[in-house]
Structures are given as C-alpha cells and as structure tokens.
Amino acid sequence: MGKFWVIFVASISILLPFLCNSFSPETPTDRRVLVLLDDFAVKSSHSSYFNSLKLRGFDLDFKLADDPKIALQRYGQYLYDALILFCPSVERFGGSVDVAAIINFVDSGHDLIIAADVNASDLIREVATECGVDFDEDPSAMVIDHTGYAVSETEGDHTLIASDDYIKSDVIIGSKKIEAPVLFQGIGHSLNPVNSLVLKVLSASPSAYSANPLSKLSTPPLLTGSAISLVSVVQARNNARILITGSLSMFSNRFFRSGVQKSGSSTKYEKSGNEQFLTELSKWIFHERGHLKAVNVKHHKVGETDEPALYRINDELEYSVEIYEWSGTSWEPYVTDDVQVQFYMMSPYVLKTLSNDKKGLYSASFKVPDVYGVFQFKVEYQKLGYTSLSLSKQIPVRPYRHNEYERFIPTAYPYYGAAFSTMAGFFIFSFVHLYNK
C-alpha cells in the first residue's frame, strides 16, 4: 500500500509540470493561445508578429473565426490561456464561442487581444464595449490626421497615421525607448469615462479626428483629438489583460518593415516602431512583465514570532509581506519604495510605507492605535501597469483587561492615604466611643 502511494505521489510530481504548464498563479505567463482569423491569409501577412510570439514559447493555434469546431473550454476547463481576435469582420463566431463566452474567458483570468478594423462587425464592437472602449459608431469612419500622418509616396487621404504619443509606463511598453513612430491605419475608439481600468496606450494627436475619408465632412466628427485612443489596454480586477486596437494592419509584416516619416518632421526612420511597440506590449499582455504576487503576509508583536489571534491597544507590532515580480521565467524580488500598509477600521488609523530588504521582503512596525475594534491590515498597491495588489487581513484589537491597568498610581496615593486613615480613625473612634465612659 505504502509503495503504491510512493509511486503515485512520484508520478504525480513528475507529471505535475506537464499538467500545469498552462496559466497558473505560480507561472503566470500564458502558453496556449488561440488566434481567430477572418482569413488564413492573415497568418502569413502578419507572420512576423506571430513568429515573435512563437519564438517566445507560445503555442499558437490558428482557427478561422467561423470554424464550427472552435471552443474555448471543454469539460469546464479552458483550453487556452489567451485569445487573439484578428477577425474584425466576423459576424458570428463558430462553435460555442459568443460574446458571453469571451467575456467569461476574460473574467476567469485569461488574456485577450482584439484588433478591429474599418467596417468592424457589431460582434467585435460588442466585445470591445464590454471591455470598456467604444469604437466609432460610423462603420466606415477612420482616424484621419492631417498633421500627424505618415509621409508616403502618394499624398493619400492621411489615414495612415504615425503616432508617438505613448503611455508613460516602462512596464507596459518596455524600458527601451521606442524611437520611430508607430504606424496606424484603422478606426479610433474612445474610452468609457467611468471605467478606471482601461488605459490609453497609444493616443491620437490633438489634430486627429474620426470620419469617413471618402465622404465630405457634413457634421462635426464625434471623436476628435487626443480623446481618440488608437491602442488601449485593460487590466481587469482579476488581472486579466486586454489589448484593444482599431487597426489590424498595424500588426502586419508590411507595417512592421515599412519605413516611416512623420509629416512635418525631417527624420526618416528605416523601420517603423510597430514591431517594438507591439512586441513589448504583448509581453505585458501575456504577463511577462508587470505581474506581481504578494505572499507570506505576516504580523506579530515585536519580540514574538507567532501570529496572535488579536492585539491589544497600544501593542507594538510588526507587519511583513513578500512581493515578487514575474520576469517571464522566474519570480524576482520586486523592489520599490512606495508600498504602504494601512491599519484600517472604516478609515486608516495607521498608514505606513513599508521598507524592503531588496529581496522582496517588505516590513513595517508600528504601534496599534489606542482604539479597539476590528481592524484590517490593508495593502492596496495599484501602480500603473502592475498587477494591483489588494491584501487585507482582519485582526481584532481589544481594550485592556481589567488587570492590565496599573495597580497603584502615584498620583492616587493621597486617596489611598485618605481611605486608610479614615478606616483607622473610625476604628479608634469606635473604640473610644464604646469604652470611654
């Protein structure tokens, strides 16, 4: 029997890495990616992008969007860790996939890349809306920029835009500066103003607007200026990451290789910034960067090691948490100086910046406030581009017990004296009164 167990456990432990090579909290980088296309031609026309993903170890599964056999999950298990929708014109997905399925896929922690294009279908728009962005309602509208367009041989209609208005975050687009502007041709979108989770990664210039380039402008365009987002990302509350853009062609080999010169600028770049920009962005989307985890939340009284069930007011305590960042292959210590802990009951009573030891261990020590109640240790770490950490641990704080106060207070000695002298005096008085005739 015991032998059997040993074999079983051993086989499990050997198999475990294979069983678990999908997305998991321990290795958050995605592995299996489903790519849905309108047309298999995209597979070759956008091969540079796909190859860069494959080179990084992703397992891409190309399917036509209306393939009746596509399925995101089987027997309650998701078959993929991420989904790339390069199918802007699909009206209906094949198989069991629909908007709700895609949204559920995201809500269970998986990543999504959506590339729309001119004449994007309602389906794609709907998915985008669910994620917090709204594409221009006019189906034939494109983003036009008469000052920020990319110079090309023909004058054109200025729908090929060269933009370099990136989000200022090294985590999202990488620490290496993107020199060349990014080429974009497609529809613009706006962000839902009440959605705080969606971020504009690549913004249109103030002079851009969204309209049909073929017709004359009769009414003022709905989307104008830098309110137009060209590329946006969403980090959902469960840390699923979503990339939304209105241009499928910006992923194409043609745009990757093409040179770029922004109008009004004399610099001509040999190669557009698209490859660098989108590759770096995909690293973020697929959790190779900016993914944090917090483990080993501990707290104890100063001088002790065990975690108490509750604290007393005015106790000195130490709080510590370890925070690591996923580098794509391993967990590295996350080093920063802006992680704060709150000792919270309806409002923070203590707010303290945690100090770290450069090995991922963050700690702080403070005194429990002179207030009893049910407190929480809260770490709310929300930094642009990083996984939002929201740790809370409940801990009651009790008042003093009846025998934890000082027994004798120096200032009360007169009262003690008064009490005892009265007692003595009463005794003497009674004695005298009773026996002195």
């Binding site: 959605n195 959902a236 509350r237 309806m346 109640g373 049910v374 929480q376 009651p396 009846h402």
Partner: protein, 830 residues
Amino acid sequence: MATMPASASDLLKSFKLKTKQQELLIRVSILCLVYILAFITRLFSVLRYESMIHEFDPYFNYRTTLYLTENGFYDFWNWFDYESWYPLGRIVGGTLYPGLMVTAVLIYRILRFLRFAVHIREVCVLTAPFFASNTTLVAYFFGKEIWDSGAGLVAAILIAICPGYISRSVAGSYDNEGVAIFALLFTFYVFVKAVNTGSLAWSLASAFGYFYMVSAWGGYVFIINLIPLYVLVLLITGRYSMRLYVAYNCMYILGMLLAMQIRFVGFQHVQSGEHMAVMGVFFLMQVFYFLDWVKHMLSDTKLFQAFLRITVTCAVAVGGIALGLGMVSGYISPWTGRFYSLLDPTYAKDHIPIIASVSEHQPTAWSSFMFDFHILLFLFPAGLYFCFKRLSDATIFIVMYGLTSMYFAGVMVRLILVATPAVCLISAIAVSATVKNLTVLLRSKNKVVQTGSTKGSGGSKSSSKALLDQSQPFQKNGAIALLFGAFYLLSRYATHCTWVTSEAYSSPSIVLAARGAHGNRVIFDDYREAYFWLRQNTPQDAKVMSWWDYGYQITAMGNRTVIVDNNTWNNTHIATVGRAMSSYEDEAIEIIRSLDVDYVLVVFGGVTGYSSDDINKFLWMVRIGGGVFPVIKEPDYLVNGEYRVDKGAAPKMLNCLMYKLCYYRFGEMLTEYGKPPGYDRARGVEIGNKDVKLEHLEEAFTTSNWIVRIYRVKPPNNRCPHNVETPVVTHLGDVFPNGSNIHGQSGTCNPQNLGVCLDLLGLVDVNLGNAPTKPCCSLIEGLVDLEGAVCLCTAVRANVLGIHINLSISLSLLLRNCERKVATEYICGP
C-alpha cells in the same frame, strides 16, 4: 387491646393541630401550591413549541451565558466581542448587566454539583419561571409586611398568574427582567422592613438586594429614585424617624458602593443626573438629623425656628450651587434620552427615533392595561382606598410605588412589568380586606344568633363592629352575594390569565405559529432555518447586514458577525444601515462595501402575512437614517403622508434597496387564490414594482416561507466602471472626496454626488458669470431640466458640504451654464 385505641386516639390527638398551627399549615401549603403554579403556568411555551430561547435580547443573554460557562468569569468580564457591531466591536463585560448570566451559571453549577446533567440552555429557559416563583414568595412577605398575611397570600396568588408579569417571564424568555422583578420586589420589601424595624441588618439586606438589582437590570434607576422620593414624602409628612434614618443611609451608602462595582454602572452612580435625587435626599437626611439634634440641645423654640430657617436656606443653596457647578463642569452628566422619554412621553418621538422605534417603548394603550391586569385594574383604586384608610410607613410606600409605576406603565408598554407587583399588592389588599370584612360580617352574625357562645375568635374589634352593623337588614345575604361576586371575579381573573398566557405570551416569536385553513396549527420555523443556513453555508468571517432587530439572533444562532444589533448604543452605525436600506442600490452598495458586508438579510412577511417584517419597520429605518444623514428624507417614501407599497407608492420607495430585496422575484409569485401575482398578504395589496432587478446583490437563500431572505453581495465587476476604491462617506460633516472620483449615474438624481456641484457653486463668482461647471453638468446629464433643478435643490437642502450659498442666483447660473432651460428663477421648495 384496650390500650391500643386509647393510644391511637392519643396519637390522633397529638396530630390534631391547634387553630394557629392549622392556619400555618394551610398558609404554607397554599404558598407551596402558588409557588408551583407560578412555575408551571409559565411552561406553556415549552409545551406549545419547545424548550427554546425566545425573542431577540434573550439570544444575546444566552450567548453571553454560554461564554460565561465556557470561559469563566474573568474572561467574561473582559470579553471583547468582535462579532457584533462590526467593525467597532463591543466590550461585552463592560456594557451589560451581568446579574442574569451569573445567576443562570450559578444555578447551572449547583445543579451540576448535585449531579444533574443539565444543559445550560435548559437552565436559561427555566430561569425566569423559577424567579417568578420566588417573586410570589417575596410578594407574600411584602403583603404581610404592609397589611397582613391574608393580603400576602392573595398578593402571591395574584402575582403568580398576572399576565403583566408573565409576559416577561415565560419559560424561554431569558431576559434581564426575569430576575430583575424579583430583585426589585425583594429590595422594596427588605427596605420597607428596614424602615418598619429600623434594623441595620434589614437595611444591609436591602443594600444587597439593590446590588443584585443593579447587576441585573437598568431598571434599578427606578429604585434609586423611588426610595428617595418616598423618604422625601415621609420627611414632608413629618414621619421622620430614627428607623428611617438608619434604613435609608445604610441602604444608600452600601448600595451605592456595591452598585459601583458593576462595570456598566461604575461612576455613573455618583455622576449622572438620574442618581442625583438619592444623593440630595441623603444630604437632606443629615440636615434633618442635625436639626433634630439641635432641637434637642436648644430648648428655646424661637431660637430653633430662626436656626431652622437659616439652616434650611443654606442647605438648599449649597445643594443648588453644588448641582449647578457639577452640571457646568460636566461632573454630573445630564439626564439621558431614555430618562427624558420616561418623564415626557412625546420626547422620544421627536428626538430619539431609535427609542421610539421599539414597539415596547410605545405609550400603552388602554386595551393592554385591561389585557395585562384584568380585574386588578379595578381593584387597584379600591386597594389604594384601603391603604389611605390605614396609613403607615409601609402603606405609604406601596401607594407611592403603585402610583409612580402606574404612570410609567402608561408611558411605556414594557413598564407595565414594573407596575405589576405594585398593582398586585394593592389589589391584594383590596381583595383581602373586602373578603375579610365580609367573612367577619358573616361569622359575627352567626355568633349573634348563637348569642356569644364562642367569643373572642374574631377579635374584640370585629365583634363590636358586627354588633354595630347588626341593625342593617339582609346583611348576611348581601355579604354572601358580595363574596360570591368576589370569587366569581377572581375566577374570571384566573381564567383570563391562563388564556392570555397560553395564547398571547407563550409565543417565542422566533418560531411563528398560525392557524391553517382547517384550523390546524401551522409552524413557520423560517428564522432558524435562515440562521442555520448562515452558520452552515457562509464563510466563518462573513459579515451580515440586517436591521438591528435581528443582530443578536444572527450572532447567537448563525454565529456570524453583524453590523448592528439590538444593543443600540451607536446611533450613527444604525443610521448607516438604515441609510443603506433606504437608498437606491447604487448608493447602498457603496455603503455596503465600505462596511465589508458579505450578506444582507431581510425579513419579509408578504408570503405568509407576517406583519412585523422589514417593510413595516421600514419607515423607522428611514427616520433613523435620516436623523443622522439628512439625504434620507421621510417624505420621499410617502405619498401624501401615506405609506404604501402598491402602484401608487413613492418612486423612491419602489426602488430603494429594502423594497428590492423584499420583493425580488415576488412579482411572479401567486400568494393567494384569486389574487394577482405579487399580492402582498401582510399589507393586502398588489405590489407596485414587480420587475425587480438586482445589480450588485444576488439572492443567496430564501427560507421556505420567504420570511427571511438572504442576499450575497457580489464582488465588483471584473471589467466594470464601478469604482469601489472611493470610500463612501458615512460620517456626518465629513467632506466629500474630490470630484474626480465621483461619478453620477446618468438619469438618476444622486444628491450625494452633486456635492461636487455645490463645491463649484460655492466657488462661483457670480459677477463674472462664468462658472467652471463642466463636471457638474455631466452629473445632471441624464435628467430633464426640471429634474436637474430639483436634484440640485435636494443636494443643496441636504447641504452636504455645509456651505451656504446664494441659492437662487447660483443655481440658475449653473443650470444656464449646463445649457438647461429652467423657467425664470427656479426656487427650491422647502
């Protein structure tokens, strides 16, 4: 053989008791029977339902008792309970009267020591009946003390079955009052005994009785005010005596020192306004004693008169100054709201909705006097007459006790309980005196017929009286008729009491019973079903929000943390819950999240017709919520001052959280044959909003009869706009966070969010005419013009930021800037 019968007859003779012994035997056996009767009549509830704890407060008492048995006294004394009043917690040891729990545990320990394997719950269930039995004994001795043993016996019988007392002492009613009435009557009895005898031992006993009372119930304030009042009356009527001096001083000083040992009372006993009377009378006593001494020393009357005047003036002046200084310096706290509401029945209604909201704090209806006292209500004045006829220190006491407690009983329903012993005693005097007079009449008549063959048994007084009355005709018949009348009344009383006990006061209110269509008994056990569901199916640290009535039950039976409970010490916290319940779901969810609530529990009687549910209590939530948060206004929930839930109900009512939670999925339900779906049986109307949709909450559990419904708070949407990080402002006077975090729901008026508007309004320089109104306009975006104005007005009236602005100008300016057309100058309604 011959000796045997002789010895037997001797034996019989020796068994034959003398008249006095016979009387004693009868008296003791009556008392024993009454003792048992008092106990068993309170067992109806166990018979009808089961051995269980009743109502709301007893569940807390039971939970604490359990803690006391498990953890011992010191842990109990220092118990910090973090399951109630989340996140504030409650120092249980310092905020309760431990008398009841300690008593129960003591009984439990004794039984255990005697090898009776009882569960603590059984002890708790039977504590109140046991103490009710003891009260009958005290009533007997008290009656004997103030009148005679006959009155004592009658008093014991009356109090044993009086519904006014039974209402709080049936088996399972494990509440403070159960033991407190015993303690109250005992203290009074011993104090009267002390006054009558002037014995130090008795006054010491009364001090300890008082201590027990203080440890058991907040109603001790009644004792500590009645006794000085009584003493004052004695002083005024010239009945000052050394006996009184000894009894009062000893009782007060020792009682005070003992009472201060109870943590919940502590220094209140010497500092709070309610306890000042007793202290004042104490000093007055000393002045009296001093004057007595001076009078004794000075033989000159004139000189003494002058001295008296000066002393009394000085004493009153000093007392007044001391009281004034104490009040000003804050050493003496003013009277509490509860005390005020006792003296002025309308006070609570105007100032403290939380007190007024409790049904047992309502002024008493005549019918409930009749219900609880029955014939005692008529016997009481008769008894007063007898007391006045034979005034003594003791009868003065019982008269004062009767009159004051009757007044309080009129102010608050629950205080009928305090009046009951006095009413029983005084009525007993009436019954006893009447019956005695009548029987004396009957007997003396016989005696007269037998021409004085037996003399002296009735006593010289009665026989002489009988001789005097001899001249009246039909006296005997009249007396017999009256006696029969009296017995008839008393038997009616007994029937009534039994009926009331079995029908009205034995319901545990946690298990409901109703008559089915065929007259059979239907039991609704929904409360326990829900609480056990909570216990079994929710995480250990889940927080449950409900109206405060159910707090104790949830912690005791569901073992889950609650936000508010029946210990209503923190009005703001309760008001926050009230506000959440009476807000729209979007606003409520922020409050709910800020309190870390996981489950929301509501009680709903629409299916069963159970009328004391949350919808019927809802206006109190609005009132209490509105008392702290002016954004909640009662008129918003009423239509022409009328509270309705049908189609004609106020829009806010139809969409507030409480309505939604109660009527969720109810619109599709058929409750009664021949009625449309969604027919609310508790209110007898078809509900107005049948299509209830919940956004942030989801139904987790609904009991089989829909009485308790539990909702789970959904986590914030994974991709959705709701910004939970914005802490909701739950304290009055707090400044709202800056406008960037605030977002209005388009199309709804959200006065709270308009706080940002007001901020702007305050900053508007009217002369310049251009206001930075952009963020504000977006807030009233979805509203039509007039609604926008009304909404702003609401916000202004709520005055969330506490700024005062030139309303009409700024408002029209703002609306104009938002390109809203408002007819000339819109003026906010009152």
